[in-house]
Amino acid sequence: MVEFKEHQLKNGLRLIFNEDKTTPIVAFNLLYDVGSKDEDENKTGFAHLFEHLMFGGSINIPSFDGPLQTVGGENNAFTSTDMTNYYITLPKNNIETAFWLESDRMLSLAFSEKSLEVQRQVVIEEFAQRYLNQPYGDVYLLLRPLAYKKHPYRWATIGKEIKHIETATMEDVKAFFKRHYYPGNAILSISGNLTFEAVKELTEKWFGDIPSRKKELRKLPVEPLQKEERTLEVERDVPLNALYYAYHMPSKNDADYYAVDLLSDVLSRGDSSRFYERLLKKTDLFTEIDAFVTGDTETGLFIIAAKLSAGVTYEQAEAAIDEQLLEIIEKGVGDEELQKVKNKAESTFEFGKTSALNKAMGLAICALVKEPELFNYEFTLYDKVSAEDIQRVAKHVLRRENRSKLIYKAKKG
């Protein structure tokens, strides 16, 4: 049980605090409720580019990293489809430096042209390093727009194409900041050997006078129900043929989310899972095969990803996977098999509570998705899933007309 206390400032900022007496550092996690799903379809990759710009100096402080490192701190950030999350760890005696730096960049950025030019280039290199210069690196750039036709999940966080990053203007940057970076759109979560009173006081002191803004209601386009299977075939300079299935699945706020997540575990978590044992080990068809959920807040994807052994045809590979899917739809799972994946989920949760940073981040993300308490009870949502639930969601999700298929072929010679 991770104990925590909460407080909300008048300007809307939410504070969550976990007292951890055992750690020498403090974890300071500031999450903004903005992700790539909030982007304009003609300006994709912006939430992530913006995350880079957050380190280019704020209204009163020219450098973010320098002053933090000077007091022994370290920081990083990530952007996903649903959130942008900034986190700092530093010696507890210097906690106020984190408040100073983060509150100033929530107040306003420096908006320097040089920073925009350089970070644009850095993000283009990131695009190249992670998505273009890696074998199979562009799979999700292809799979997302195949599976989604309307919903903004149809582009990856890095963006649809490099061009969107290249053409971003300072005006765009300022508008994005104004729209998404304000107290009511943020959750501050802290874990460390401090008192709640001290943390509350510092939060009021540094964030209290930042003007509030009315939280905009999010109106995302609804993804129309998929009615028939979609297939995309591409050829790339890679050594092995690969195959990807993507199925639409329930959102994180739907009770069935947990059943679908466990379904993916039954298929491919651990060396005793069905795919690993039956397809990877017992046949010569695959060199890799996985099933997993994207874990998005809104209706995400259930994905099966496989690399085919040399000489194996797509017909053989698909038949083998489909046979496994059909079996689980028709026969369901055994109680022991279900208990196994629940036990895995339980130990995963317990390991997630063993450092201050994990706790601070976990509480903030749970607060965004639903409520911070979720961090403590999320496992019970897995534990409640029955064998019937798994079979029911398998039947519902693993339908052919709910599937997008990517045939990723190795170029010959």
């Binding site: 290199e125 390093q129 300079d237 060199t287 450092s355």
Partner: protein, 424 residues
């Protein structure tokens, strides 16, 4: 409130460590533990002297390490995997140049059930031929995928370039290696380095006295002491060295790896080298990052580090950059290394780096799992916790002149071995 003024800063005076307790069983096996009472989980690492430097053939050490869980006298691979999966446990293996480990992550309540079974698996592994065939088949094809990654190719080539072909740390993998492995090779290595050998145990998390007792009951067995190669091993001469280019015409980015053999953690110059390296490329605000990423935008990331193996330490600079700026990047790396040698570090930068390092050491003790990783490093290098006390003292009093002197002795761009995979 003037927001342009930083809050008053507290100096980091001392760092409180969660220290490991070491128990030596009657058999001589060392068991190290750090208790973290507020959690429900345990991590147990069993570490053997079985790294790749002990192998006579490529792949053998990694394969034995991986396949040790894939079958034993009593159980098949599937049964073993099921047993641990059923308890929600995670059983992994890892193999480096020096050591090989089997790592168990599980709920504390599963310990009494899992340990006797694990002991049986590790002491009676039998390397079934079908598992060997599956491993080779899958990994030979994964190798083909890795060969397309410039960073992977550079890593695979680096140690040989640094140390010469016949050095025990120079193993590099080629496609033909996957056809040369025999079951006998694996069994011989296993018998020597696992089955009849002693090992060390590292425990962190909810390590209660009951857990410790179970570990002792199950694993306290006589084994032969197999020493690592602990004498100092030499690398190639640090002569002036040209760039070795491994061309990949389709590359959008080039991978760069530069390096040289250097001093170890016990050397009197090490704290200064540590600070010099941090300034150069050891953290996000480093000079290489500031110049090559934050000023020029050539790369998503660049770093330098000092890596310590048993009896051999080396300095390395590593990055992936836009293919068309490969040569320009090399120039900037050379420039930054020369700056360290030619110009004294400013007081402001020095203060920042000192505090950053101290904070980072402190972060290394956030939770028992991190704290155990720190202890394990000390143990590998034959150091005690006084290493950290000394390092902290040295860093706090470090002068710019000392850093410059050490950079002049130990950081010379011309003599670095240089690999570029991609385009130049």
């Amino acid at each position: 409130m003037d927001r342009s003024v930083a809050p008053s800063q507290q100096e980091i005076e001392k760092i409180e460590f969660a220290k490991a307790q070491t128990t030596i069983f009657s058999s001589g096996i060392q068991c190290h533990s750090i208790l973290q009472d507020d959690c429900k989980v345990v991590k147990m690492e069993i570490e053997f002297q079985a790294g790749s430097k002990f192998q006579d053939k490529a792949l053998i050490a990694a394969m034995v390490n991986n396949l040790i869980l894939e079958g034993c006298e009593k159980y098949l691979a599937y049964e073993i995997a099921s047993f641990f999966d059923n308890e929600g446990a995670f059983l992994d293996t890892s193999c480096s140049a020096d050591k090989a480990s089997v790592v168990l992550h599980c709920l504390e309540r599963s310990i009494p059930k899992l340990l006797p079974y694990l002991q049986e698996v590790l002491s009676t592994a039998n390397f079934p031929q079908n598992e060997i065939d599956t491993y080779l088949k899958i990994n030979a094809q994964k190798f083909e995928v890795n060969r397309e990654k410039v960073g992977w190719v550079a890593r695979n080539e680096f140690m040989e370039e640094l140390l010469g072909q016949d050095h025990p740390y120079s193993w590099k993998v080629s496609a033909s290696n996957y056809k040369e492995v025999q079951r006998e090779d694996l069994i011989l290595f296993y018998n020597n380095r696992y089955k009849s050998a002693t090992f060390q145990v590292y425990l962190s998390g909810k390590v209660t006295t009951e857990v410790l007792q179970t570990v002792e009951n199950v694993f306290n067995q006589k084994g032969i002491e197999r020493n690592g190669v602990s004498e100092v091993m030499m690398g190639n001469e640090n002569n002036v060295s040209d760039v070795k280019l491994i061309e990949k015409k389709s590359a959008i980015q080039s991978a760069i790896r530069l390096g040289a053999v250097t001093i170890n953690r016990s050397h009197a110059d090490f704290p200064a080298l540590f600070v010099a390296n941090t300034i150069l490329g050891g953290y996000f605000g480093s000079r290489l990052m500031s110049n090559i990423r934050e000023d020029k935008g050539y790369t998503y990331g660049i770093g330098s580090g000092v890596i310590h193996l048993e009896g051999l330490s080396y300095f390395i600079v590593s990055t992936e950059v836009g293919a068309e700026v490969t040569a320009a990047t090399l120039k900037e790396i050379e420039f930054e290394m020369n700056q360290l040698r030619n110009v004294l570090v400013s007081q402001e930068e020095l203060k920042l780096v000192k505090n950053y390092i101290l904070g980072n050491i402190m972060k290394g003790f956030d939770g028992s799992f991190s704290a155990m990783a720190r202890f394990q490093m000390l143990n590998h290098q034959g150091l005690g916790y006084d290493y950290y006390q000394n390092l902290i003292q040295e860093i706090k009093t470090m002068k710019a002149e000392k850093i410059q002197a050490v950079a002049r002795t130990h950081m010379n761009y011309a003599t670095l071995k240089k690999i570029v995979v991609g385009k130049l």
